[in-house]
Amino acid sequence: MTSLNFEKVSVQYGQRRAVVEFSEVVRPGEWLCLIGPNGAGKSSLLRAIVGIISFSGNIVVDGATLHDRNARRRAQLVAYVPQSPVMPSDMNAYEYVLLGRNPYVSHFGSESVHDTAMVNSVFERLDLTDFAHRQLGELSGGERQRVAIARAVAQEAPILLLDEPTSSLDIGHQQQALELVDKLRREHGLTVVSAMHDLTLAGSYADRLVLMHEGHRVVGGTAQEVLRAETLAEFYGVSVHVHHEPDGTVAVIPRRSLRT
């Protein structure tokens, strides 16, 4: 299992600072969920980890900084599922998941027998075998999300980053996708960092939540500690009812401000 440390990580787009000196320690095997209103810097932080955007500060994976890793080595350590993955409609699911083996293939090389065997086992483990040869354009939203997660699993990276993994799914598929991630985390000891807007789901699945606002880390802790009505009112500008279940989970229910 692998740890992930953020040390004063900042991301800047021109004059705008998207993430400001973000520091946090994600323990091996932990699921950390970043929450916060739009523009808080959650996605920017995830994109910085995988090298899509540049950052200052340090991101340390198991004691070594990501700056010192080349792109392939970084992709062997960190897998990323974006909010809206680009899924070419004329590519089949098998070809798509096979792309997850890119970090293990040399520049001019091609996938080894081990790579294809690995992809086959991912299809079996995630119960996707039936649509391996279906075009991505033919898949439903839930199926596409599972295939996107399968590609990340095929990367065999110990850290999994998920940017809004449930944003385009119905409630059933939301639960399926998060249960799948949780199962993978438990079975493979993955360290998971996700960005989520659904606070109830975030609180139900993540070990810890970190609330971000305007690029800053505001507060971190368990769902009970972070999902407080006054905190959410301050940073989301919304009135909510926070319901604590007997099993420790927290439900966040928005309140209408005006009733006519």
């Binding site: 995988v50 992709a75 960190v78 974006p82 070419p88 590519m91 890119n102 990367q155």
Partner: protein, 348 residues
């Protein structure tokens, strides 16, 4: 599941494409306005192989027509078709835009401008230099044209806008053509040489021409084929390809460099031939799917077969005059391009 699932198409496609290329080569060598009866040609070719003796009835002068007139032309047309086709497929992959080809991106026009520069400076003197500056100038200007097209196209339309990139290509082609016309107007003495270069010399091809382009074609094709897996990685967009450990900018630069190198080299001998780089890769995608692992090698093989075949009507229809091959490909390509455009609009 087994590892054979990685194969996105039947393993028979490549041997079939090789057979089609060989048939096209043979057909091109057999057909012509002068020379021996068509069926004697394959027999004579067999006869010329070591350890084989076949009586074909072909005289020495007829053999000269086959070997010195038809074969260089057929082989050169094959090389041009292979290169334009694989370059077109590569540009489509690297720009993630199925509507581009070397012609539409302004590469061919840029190469023409580069050649014009050399002619206006001093073609007679420069041709004896250690390294002929003509293909280099064609390559440099072709590369500049495609880079300007890409920068303008993405600046105004974003990376995913197919039509903006094509429109940028049209604008760059117009600008480059205007610059070339301006240069020619100021150097009317080289106009005939430049136009003869632009129209190409496929009809008067010699083995020297084949030897001139072969190293460029071999280098360009080898590098592009080595990038076919990475072109599949780029299909998921720059951000995700980066997250998958790909050096997106490096891949894009290398592919554009070598696709342009091949294009500039073949344009130097064939003139401006449009649409090959769009017709063939699209037909291949319809047959075997969109994976560049298959699209690139098949486009290479079938592109050669296509251009050799497209050259045949031009040789015999208006005999003794010739219909330029670019006219034949444009007749086929323009409606095909509109068909693709219509299909894409309908699928949105």
């Amino acid at each position: 599941m087994n590892s054979s699932q990685v194969r996105v198409s039947s393993p028979w496609w490549i041997p079939t494409a090789v057979a089609m290329l060989v048939l096209a080569l043979l057909g091109g060598a057999m057909i012509g306005p002068a020379g021996p009866t068509w069926w004697r040609v394959p027999l004579e070719l067999l006869n010329r192989l070591p350890l084989l003796t076949v009586h074909s009835g072909v005289s020495e002068s007829e053999w000269n027509i086959i070997w010195l007139v038809r074969m260089p032309r057929v082989v050169l047309a094959g090389l041009v078709g292979c290169t334009l086709s694989i370059a077109g497929a590569s540009y489509q992959g690297v720009f993630r835009n199925p509507l581009v080809d070397p012609y539409l991106l302004g590469v061919a026009a840029g190469a023409g401008l580069g050649a014009t520069f050399v002619f206006t400076i001093n073609r007679a003197g420069s041709s004896t230099w250690l390294i002929d500056p003509l293909p280099l100038a064609a390559f440099g200007c072709g590369l500049a044209a495609v880079l300007v097209t890409y920068v303008v196209g993405t600046a105004f339309g974003g990376e995913r806008s197919s039509t903006t990139l094509v429109l940028a290509g049209v604008a760059v082609t117009s600008l480059v053509t205007a610059m070339q016309a301006f240069l020619l107007q100021r150097h009317t003495d080289v106009m005939r040489e430049v136009y003869s270069w632009i129209l190409g010399r496929l009809s008067t091809a010699t083995w020297t021409d084949v030897r001139l382009v072969l190293p460029y074609v071999a280098l360009s094709t080898t590098v592009l084929l080595f990038h076919r897996r990475l072109l599949d990685v780029l299909r998921v967009g720059d951000d995700e390809a980066t997250a998958l450990g790909a050096h997106v900018n490096r891949i894009r630069l290398v592919v554009v460099l070598f696709a342009t190198l091949g294009t500039a080299a073949v344009v130097a001998v064939s003139g401006l031939i449009g649409f090959v780089g769009i017709i063939v890769p699209h037909a291949v995608r319809l047959l075997v799917g969109a994976s560049y692992r298959v699209v690139l090698p098949l486009s290479f093989l079938l592109g050669g077969a296509f251009l050799i075949t497209a050259d045949i009507p031009g040789r015999i229809l208006s005999n003794p005059a010739e219909t330029p091959i670019g006219v034949v490909t444009a007749f086929l390509g323009a409606p095909f391009f509109l068909l693709i455009l219509r299909t894409r609009q309908a699928s949105r």
